[in-house]
């Protein structure tokens, strides 16, 4: 099927734009960047999609052996099964829409070619990650998307906060990657191979402690990439990048890589109950915590960023409860509505010439109707209003959670209510009431609104794409009990959230501030994101920095090492003044040493039996 073409075309686009982009006309840069992603999408639609019905197992293409060292054999293999296919469609499809959108969004930004080159590079790495047939190749894509994320967060590198955010994302991800690489090492030790097929084939026979350890280490990696507790702190800051980046990388695709990786590793997890449990707990904790923070954010992108973290938590709940297909299902619907929310907020920001604070918006409904209506579609989808996409996937996860542990279900329900509340709070603050800003809002060009409209349709109707049925052959069977009462509870939670938002921000706008005044302590705590960044700073960053400075630098380096070295050095200096003659800077002396060495080598070879 020539699978390698799928990532290779964006790579080509990256190379052309990256190398020559500065000199190429803007239209050509656009054509190359968007065209390459379109070709990729086309290839997926033409080659992968039609065969999906027959594709029961995995289809693998081997290109060449990358590493052959001892019994470590790593090939460059691309594999497609139904899980991969779903991901390919999400990545290329959403990616294409966001590329199109970026044409309009980035039209007046400097570094146009650089942006698209990075975006294409990201597409390449993301597709490698998804197509990889072994963990090491997946790790290549994994690191690559991390790199692109770093580059794109720091896209406005002349702004201090953007570069700081980029660094933060990169460093936090390093912790996760460390876990991932440890997992890969352990896997090789345990199974002697890194190929999915081999590893999964032997997983059931492996000892449980090993599987648990591997699973937990993989989870550390997934936590880094998919912004779960405790490594979620980078994602909200990552909003410093351009909005299409937030939509593509930090909502729709890259951050779900952790979900993909854990879902892909289901044969390991299904024999590692402890790791599964941890995933579920981490997921629900993240979902709840991020949702509470999202309630009080004033930056429109920050609201959606915390929403993303929260929704990712849901996906992990799905995985952790054994409902892999539900998790994947939610990845897809989330990709639709969250990409739409981000692109829509980008359109709002674009309309207001860079304004991101919800307090300076309001009444935009009349100024930018297309954005408003499309974002409304996403909002109802994320709030879980039936029959829109978010309802189906979220419900599948919550039902699975109820089966596993009812408390997770109830926390999930509360989170769902909060989700509905903060999304509609943002919508109401931005689009209703009277305009509180100073700019003149203008609707975005068609190149931006058309992708919005397509995503709106997908958000509304995406729930009818039969992902769980499609993935039945991939994952172990998970029997879901359709409980209408539970379903009703979750719908009610959503509606209550919407209603509360309406009450507080439209019906009685003053009530929100009053409420904040009454619970001042709690408000401050949540408004400042539980001071997690500050705590991390105090507990991790400061000690490391200070420890490095005091213990390693002043103590070890300056005191112990320098001291001993200086003492020794003084002794050595006497000897060195003789030996320094060797390092005379005179080439002919050096040559003499070379000659001396070669004579020695010949003598040694003669002694060692070279002379037979």
């Amino acid at each position: 099927m020539l699978l390698w073409l799928i990532p290779a075309i964006p790579l080509l686009g990256f190379l052309i734009n990256g190398i020559f982009g500065r000199r190429l006309p803007k239209n050509l840069v656009t054509a190359i960047a968007v065209g390459s992603v379109f070709l990729s999408l086309g290839w997926v639609l033409m080659k992968v999609l039609p065969g999906l019905a027959e594709l029961r197992g995995a289809y693998t293409e081997h290109y060449f052996t990358w590493i052959a060292s001892g019994n470590l054999q790593v090939g460059v293999n691309f594999t497609v099964d139904r899980l991969t296919a779903v991901w390919l469609l999400i990545v290329t499809g959403i990616g294409f829409l966001i590329h199109v959108y970026s044409i309009g969004y980035m039209a007046h930004e400097g570094g146009y070619y650089r942006f698209f080159a990075y975006m294409n590079l990201f597409m390449f790495f993301m597709l490698v990650l998804v197509l990889a047939g072994n963990y090491l190749l997946m790790f290549v894509g994994w690191e690559g998307v991390g790199l692109c994320s770093y580059l794109l967060i720091g896209f406005y590198f002349d702004k201090q906060f953007a570069t700081n955010a980029g660094n933060k994302a990169f460093i936090v991800n390093r912790i996760g990657d460390f876990g991932f690489s440890l997992a890969v090492f352990l896997m090789f030790r345990q199974f002697g191979s890194l190929d999915f097929a081999t590893v999964f084939g032997q997983a059931s026979a492996a000892p449980e402690w090993a599987l648990n350890t591997i699973g937990l280490l993989l989870l550390v990696g997934a936590c880094g990439k998919s912004a779960q507790i405790p490594l979620y702190v980078w994602l909200p800051d990552a909003m410093a990048g351009p909005t299409p980046v937030s939509a593509l990388i930090h909502a729709a695709t890259m951050v779900t890589a952790g979900v993909y990786m854990t879902a892909r590793s289901w044969p390991i997890y299904s024999h590692a109950p402890m790791a599964m449990e941890t995933i579920a707990v981490v997921g629900i904790a993240t979902a709840f915590l991020a949702a509470t923070i999202g309630l009080l954010q004033n930056d429109i992108k920050k609201v959606f960023a915390y929403s993303t973290v929260s929704q990712l938590g849901y996906m992990f709940v799905g995985i952790g409860c054994g409902a892999f297909s539900a998790g994947v299902y939610h990845v897809m619907t989330h990709a639709f509505f969250k990409a739409l929310l981000f692109l829509g907020s980008g359109s709002v920001i674009h309309a207001l010439s860079g304004e991101q604070d919800l307090r300076n918006m309001g009444g935009l409904r009349r100024h930018i109707p297309v954005t408003f209506w499309t974002m409304m579609c996403a909002a109802v989808a994320i709030a879980g209003v039936p029959p829109f996409s978010g309802f189906f996937s979220k419900d599948a996860i919550l039902l699975a959670a109820h089966q596993r542990a009812p408390w997770i279900y109830w926390v999930g329900i509360v989170t769902a209510g909060m989700t509905a509340f903060y999304v509609f709070r943002a919508m109401f603050l931005a689009f209703f009431g009277s305009y509180r800003g100073h700019h003149h809002p203008h609707e975005s060009p068609a190149v931006m609104t058309v992708p919005l409209a397509i995503l709106a349709v997908l958000s509304l109707g995406g729930g009818f794409i039969p992902i769980p049925e499609l993935l039945e052959s991939v994952f172990p069977r998970f029997v879901e009990v359709h409980d209408t009462a539970l379903m009703a509870v979750s719908v009610t939670a959503g509606v209550v959230g919407i209603a509360l938002a309406y009450l507080m921000y439209i019906a009685r706008p003053a009530s929100a501030d009053a409420l904040a005044g009454r619970f001042k302590g709690l408000y401050t705590l949540v408004y400042n994101k539980y001071f997690v960044d500050e705590v991390y700073d105090a507990v991790v960053v400061k000690p490391v920095v200070n420890g490095s400075r005091v213990v390693l630098w002043k103590g070890m380096d300056a005191g112990l090492i320098d001291g001993s070295v200086n003492g020794l050095g003084n002794r050595v200096r006497g000897v060195g003044s003789i030996l320094r003659l060797i390092q005379s800077g005179n080439i002919r002396s050096y040559a003499t040493w070379v000659l001396f060495g070669s004579v020695l080598v010949i003598v040694a070879m003669g002694i060692a039996g070279g002379a037979r």
Binding site: N586, R588, S589, T592, W593, L595, S598, V599, I602, R612
Partner: protein, 166 residues
């Protein structure tokens, strides 16, 4: 006939080689080096390496050494000054050199008995056809890599030469 030719050109090569080392003026060294290369080309012919013999003359004597002569003329390099000294070289140079030559000669005599004789015409695998075939089949990748190397060398030379113009 073979032996006489070998002796003539071996002697020429060694004499020219000595001349390369003892002449103080670089252009005399260069001319002597051309002499070495020319006699080596004849020895290549005796060993059945027709193509290499011609390539030796075209590439080494005809291109590389012309470049040397050109640079010597361009810089108007005179006879070298007898200044600067290296303790190492004076102390160890000659003994090491003698040791190297002695060891090499000893091992050659030891490892290659006198029975392997070189006769002109015994080995005919060194024509353009054979070399070309090997170059473009078995050694295709190294060949292509070398072409990249040459390209880089050209670029390097241009960059270096351009810098001095400014």
């Amino acid at each position: 006939m073979d032996g006489i030719l070998f002796l003539i050109f071996a002697v020429v090569a060694v004499l020219c080689g000595i001349n390369v080392v003892v002449q103080t003026h670089p252009i005399s060294s260069a001319i002597s080096l051309i002499g070495v290369m020319g006699s080596l080309a004849v020895l290549y012919l005796l060993l059945g390496a027709e193509f290499l013999a011609v390539a030796q003359v075209i590439v080494y004597a005809g291109a590389v050494m012309v470049l040397f002569v050109f640079v010597i003329m361009l810089l108007n390099a005179g006879a070298e000054a007898r200044k600067g000294r290296s303790f190492m070289v004076q102390l160890l140079g000659v003994p090491l050199l003698v040791a190297l030559l002695g060891l090499l000669a000893y091992f050659v005599q030891r490892l290659f008995p006198q029975t392997v004789l070189v006769q002109f015409g015994k080995f005919t695998g060194g024509g353009a056809r054979e070399v070309g075939r090997a170059l473009f089949t078995t050694y295709l990748l190294p060949f292509e890599v070398t072409s990249v190397l040459i390209l880089i060398a050209i670029l390097g030379a241009i960059v270096l030469a351009r810098k001095e113009l400014e």
